[in-house]
Amino acid sequence: MGIFKVKIIPKNIVREVNIPGRSEIKVYELLEALNFVVEEVVVTRGGSEILTEYDTVREGDDIVVFLAPSGG
C-alpha cells in the first residue's frame, strides 16, 4: 500500500514513490517526494487531465510529470 508510479518526461523513466499507509496524496506531496518544485513541472493524469499541486492522486492513477526546463 502507498506506492505511486510516476512517469517522468522527457527522461522517459518511471519512478515509484512509496508513502506507507496512504492510498491517496496531494500532488505537492508527490512532488516533494520526487524533489521537484511546482514551478518546474506540469503533472497530468490519464494522459490529458492537468493537475494543480492541490489536486489529489490515488494509487494506480496514470500519472505523468513533465519537466518544464529545456535546452542546455
Binding site: I9, P10, K11, N12, V37, V38, E39, E40, V41, V42, T44, S48, I50, L51, T52, E53, Y54, D55, F66, A68, P69, S70, G71, G72
Partner: protein, 322 residues
C-alpha cells in the same frame, strides 16, 4: 481548486498573479500576456511579415499557436520554418510534429534540410571541425534564419525564447564575463536594413511551465523528447533550477529580474549590434569581414563553395500552403 474567474476546475495556479485558472481562462491569460509583451516592447512596429522559427518543442510550438491566434488583431502575415539539423530520429519526429502544427494553424511554411543544402548535418560538421554540437547548432540556426528572411522580404523573425531562457542567459553571461553578448537578450533587436530582419522574443514574459501547460492543454503536436546531444549538466539548467526554487518562495521574482534588466541595461546596450556588416564571401550579416559559417566551412573544406551552394538552396525554397 477552482478557476478564480468562472469556478470551473483549475488547471494551474499562478501565485505571481494571485490567480488559479481553468483551461479556457488560462489560454486567454497567456494570449493576452503575449499581446501585452508585443506592445510593451514595440515588437511589431517594423513590419508585418513575420517568420516564426519552430523546432517542434513546446516553446516554439506554443509561440506559433499564440501568434496565429493574434494574427488578425496584429495584422500579421505569418510564415513558419523548420530547420532539419540532421539529428536522426529526433529530427524526423520533430519535423512530423511541426508539419502537423503548420496545418493546424494554417500557416505557410518551408523546411530547410541541412544535409541537402549544406551537405553536412550538425553532428558531422561538429566532428569535422571539433567544435561542440550546441555551438554549431546555434550558428546554423542564426545563419539560416537570416538567409530565409533576406530572400523572402521578411521584416521580423520571432523565436520561442521564454522568460526562463532569457534570465538564465543573462546570469550566465554575467558569470562568464561575456558582457558583449548581453545585448542579444533584449526583447527586440532592431533590423539592419537590407542585411538583417528585426528579431523578437514574444514569450519573454512567459515561463517554460506556462508554455508547457499551454502546449498540453491545447494538445499541440509537440516533441517532448530531449535532444540526443543535450548535455547532462549545463550552467543554464542549473541557473533555471535555482530561479524556479526562488520563484516558489518569492512569486514574481523572475519577471521582476527580467524587467529590471531590460529597464536598466537596454539603453546602455543600444547600438551594440552596430558593427554588423556584410560577409565578404556570402553577403550575409557578420561581425567581421568573413561570417562564422564561412570561416567554419572554409576551415573544414578549404573552400567556401558549400556555403554558396547552401545559399542558393535557401534562395530556391518557397513557402508552401499547409
Amino acid at each position: 481548486m477552482y478557476c478564480k474567474l468562472c469556478r470551473c476546475k483549475a488547471i494551474i495556479r499562478l501565485p505571481y498573479a494571485k490567480l488559479s485558472l481553468c483551461r479556457k481562462h488560462f489560454n486567454e491569460f497567456i494570449e493576452r500576456k503575449v499581446l501585452k509583451s508585443i506592445n510593451r516592447y514595440h515588437m511589431v512596429n517594423s513590419g508585418r511579415r513575420v517568420l516564426v522559427a519552430v523546432s517542434g518543442g513546446k516553446d516554439s510550438s506554443t509561440l506559433l499557436h499564440i501568434l496565429s491566434s493574434l494574427r488578425s488583431t496584429l495584422k500579421l502575415e505569418l510564415y513558419g520554418v523548420y530547420i532539419d539539423l540532421g539529428l536522426g530520429e529526433y529530427s524526423k519526429y520533430s519535423r512530423e510534429c511541426v508539419e502537423k502544427l503548420f496545418k493546424t494553424v494554417n500557416v505557410e511554411y518551408t523546411i530547410i534540410e541541412l544535409e541537402k543544402g549544406l551537405g553536412y548535418s550538425v553532428p558531422k560538421l561538429s566532428s569535422l571541425s571539433k567544435r561542440p554540437k550546441c555551438s554549431i547548432c546555434g550558428l546554423i540556426k542564426r545563419y539560416t534564419l537570416n538567409a530565409i528572411a533576406l530572400h523572402n522580404r521578411i521584416d521580423i523573425v520571432a523565436t520561442g525564447h521564454t522568460l526562463d531562457d532569457v534570465i538564465a542567459y543573462i546570469v550566465k553571461e554575467f558569470i562568464t564575463g561575456n558582457y558583449s553578448q548581453l545585448y542579444k537578450l533584449k526583447p527586440k533587436l532592431d533590423a539592419i536594413p537590407g542585411l538583417m530582419p528585426s528579431r523578437i522574443k514574444p514569450l519573454i514574459e512567459v515561463s517554460e511551465r506556462e508554455c508547457l501547460t499551454y502546449a498540453i492543454s491545447n494538445k499541440l503536436p509537440v516533441h517532448y523528447g530531449e535532444c540526443p546531444y543535450s548535455p547532462e549538466v549545463s550552467l543554464e539548467m542549473e541557473i533555471k533550477q535555482f530561479f524556479n526554487r526562488l520563484e516558489v518562495k518569492h512569486p514574481g521574482i523572475k519577471i521582476q529580474f527580467l524587467r529590471k534588466f531590460v529597464k536598466e541595461y537596454s539603453k546602455s546596450l543600444e547600438g551594440s549590434e552596430g558593427n554588423i556588416r556584410k560577409c565578404s564571401v556570402c553577403g550575409l550579416p557578420s561581425s567581421s569581414d568573413i561570417c562564422a559559417l564561412c570561416k567554419l566551412v572554409g576551415r573544414v573544406d578549404g573552400s567556401y563553395s558549400r556555403v554558396l551552394d547552401f545559399h542558393k538552396y535557401i534562395e530556391g525554397l518557397e513557402f508552401k500552403h499547409p
